[in-house]
Symmetry: C2
Subunit: 449 residues, 2 copies
């Protein structure tokens, strides 16, 4: 029997940040972090192991900050939580006694029930360096690759694969367009045009009905009747929370299929917390269960849990996820925060939208100037900002975070119209054309018009 | 006698945006904009006419949006407001009758009372294309240039001048460091190092006591006793509001020397508004008069005035200026919003600060990754965000605006610690290291420690 005070299960961003946060708030506690993957990777960097990074190894997850902060690191795999004794049993047979247990056990890639999905050359995205290195090496030797799923992962993989040169890339998406859950159609079109210009074949409204070949995949039969040849396939259709450990221990599971937690990331057992992909999420706007899995949410939850393990000393809650994303496709940056026009409408919000376009430097003759497109979605009567989408150059990466901050504090149309912002020739559109302000103004005009 | 409904005096960003806003809100009104400079320039782009832009003409102010929006454009110069008759007399002798008058008459560069300041080769920064073209052409033929003033304008000029190659550039600043009003010392040092690495000679704690030479400047005698040779000088020490027209008409002037206005940019005469550099500003935190002159504030005020000319239909106020700036020096981006540690202390705020450093891509092996430094200043007891400073790559241009939004809605330490933000390998630091969150966490640690 090994003793610790705080036991964190999981070595992804949630586990790491929670352990570090706990160290800051509880300097005298013994903290142990158990992970079952020796060589982890930075989750969001996985697509970039194909082409942008010189070597896949550059995307390794670092654990040096844990060691520096006197957090004990163990490679093992938790198999049972004995809640009554406050003990976790590992696959090695080791047992750890805890005061506070944090489950940061992540998610597993969805393997769709498509006949032939088990064939060689078909890769779900696992967060393991060895597996991904082999995958990248194998794919680079092929002529044709099929990407299943047109969400962020699928789109980023298609982009990177198309940069290798000489590889035929096809992306297959069930919905009518790419990035359909996070963006309105005018933004999806920008991504589709970009990928098409890089030679990617985009098949929307399409599902794979069967993978063909012998032991190794040779093709895919589509719902359109077509059979496309392929040498390999990447499964980028999402993930499901890992909950077995929690379920077996009698913890509750929420409707979104993640482990049920309260505002402070506590499960029904007050000494067990769950954070990151394995934990249930609630939507910021409706409080409905919302299965959004992102490292940025995971780390936010980790900070809430890490601070609140022993006492709720400040109101440090997890307020529900707004859903905030950015991506980079062929040099085009896209960002989305909160509700889009489609999701807002489906939830029953009555909205007014505003759009604006501006060049991200001024005068626009400055080198590397790019167009920025902004769309804002407001509640029609209450005028609160519900969501925003941006497309353009690199500045959009933090611009979507500015919008996200405004959503989290429910900025109104008027507040955005009279926003004070820094503008600079090299860094932003001109103050006369700052797109958050102009998009709010556009919404105000539509409201009054 | 010419008749108009809305008369805007001034063709800078404030005048232009106010006229356009008024057009949107009052589609049936006749709007006339009078400006006295035929060929205006984009104010913030002036330093970049030296080197970054291929030709100074690329920094021309465009008035095409006014014509498209049926705003009458007149080149003339207002000399008298006859308030009783609601008439403005121009230097040409023309008179305009108005229902609503907007003064957007800007500021004038400060000409310091230094003996010899009138010599040829000494340039105050006037916002006129012809003048600036001549200035740029003349400077490019010189060997040595002296920049007076180490604020934003001086620093940006010094940066651009040093890029011309072959020009000896000296910057002279009265205060102990560059950008001292907007940044704390650790940020000033970054700018000083950058400019020094480009060969700029930086003289702080120094004033020019006399310009020497005959008709043309040949040197400057400094308070240190040194006499530096120079072929020309740029005066970048600030500007004063243009208020004579308002004073002569009996309008009030505020303690900050700008025209007094209320929350809706109305002067003491309810039919006369003042906006932009000529109008008084109040500090967001203390409500004291604060003489900040920036195109971004001017345009915000212009939008408030333009919407409220005939009625205050929505609470669209000018909430006091937080002071938000960004600049770009030798590829280094700096941003400041709200109070810094120095200004907060001098105002009597008890503060706690937090700092963080992170690489702006993840993994940091991605090409063009840069370090980002963030400092946040919070009120110690109330924990509200009072200010922030950033330094790093291009992403800092919108990062400071994200901080500005958080200041304007008084985010607390805890809210920033649990912020939801989009992170992406190409666009931001990793979620585990997002610097706004880490800086807030650092402040929380200092509070509790």
């Amino acid at each position: 029997m090994k003793d610790t005070d705080i036991l964190v299960i999981g070595g992804g961003p949630a586990g790491v940040v929670c352990a570090l946060t706990a160290r800051w708030y509880y300097p005298n506690k013994r903290i142990t972090l158990v992970r079952d993957i020796k060589d982890g990777v930075i989750p969001c960097g996985i697509p970039y192991m194909i082409s942008s990074l010189e070597k896949p190894e550059q995307n390794a997850m670092s654990y040096s900050s844990l060691e520096k902060n006197k957090i004990k690191l163990v490679i093992d795999h938790a198999v049972e939580i004995k809640r009554r004794n406050k003990v976790v049993r590992m696959v090695s047979g080791d047992e750890y006694r805890y005061e506070k247990l944090v489950l940061a056990i992540g998610s597993s890639p969805i393997i769709p029930p498509i006949p032939g999905v088990e064939k060689k050359g078909i890769y779900p995205i696992k967060k393991e360096m060895g597996y991904l290195k082999d995958m990248v090496e194998a794919i680079k030797k092929q002529k044709r690759v099929l990407v299943l799923g047109g969400g962020f992962i699928g789109v980023e993989f298609a982009d990177e694969l198309s940069r290798l040169g000489g590889l035929e890339v096809t992306i297959v998406e069930m919905l009518p367009r790419l990035l359909a859950r996070s963006f309105d159609p005018e933004f999806s079109r920008l991504v589709e045009e970009k990928l098409a210009s890089q030679g990617v074949r985009i098949l929307t409204n399409t599902v794979v009905e069967e993978f063909t070949g012998d032991a190794k995949v040779r093709g895919a039969r589509l719902s359109t009747g077509e059979e496309v040849k392929t040498d390999c396939a990447i499964l980028g259709i999402g993930a499901v929370p890992n909950t077995k450990l929690a379920l077996d221990a009698g913890l509750d599971i929420g409707k979104g299929k993640g482990i049920w937690v309260d505002e402070y990331m506590r499960t029904v057992d007050p000494d067990i917390f769950a954070i990151g992909d394995c934990a249930g999420k609630r939507d910021f706007f409706t409080r409905k269960d919302a299965p959004v899995m992102l490292a940025s949410i995971a780390t936010s939850e980790a900070r809430v849990a890490g601070a609140n393990l022993y006492k709720l000393r400040v109101l440090r809650e997890s307020k529900g996820t707004i859903g905030i994303f950015s991506t980079y496709v062929g040099g085009l940056v896209l960002g989305s925060a909160g509700l889009n026009e489609g999701t807002a409408g489906r939830e029953g919000f009555e909205v007014v939208t505003g759009t604006a376009e501006a060049v991200d430097k001024h005068p626009s003759a400055l080198p590397t100037a790019r167009r920025t497109l902004v769309k804002l979605i407001f509640s029609r009567e209450s005028q609160a900002l519900l969501g925003g989408q941006v497309a353009g150059g690199m500045s959009c990466g933090e611009l979507i975070n500015a919008i996200g901050i405004a959503i989290q504090k429910r900025f109104t149309i008027t507040e955005l119209e009279t926003l004070q912002m820094a503008t600079h020739p090299w860094l932003t559109p001109p103050p006369t054309m700052y797109p958050l302000v102009l998009a709010a103004q556009d919404a105000a005009k539509r409201l009054s018009g």
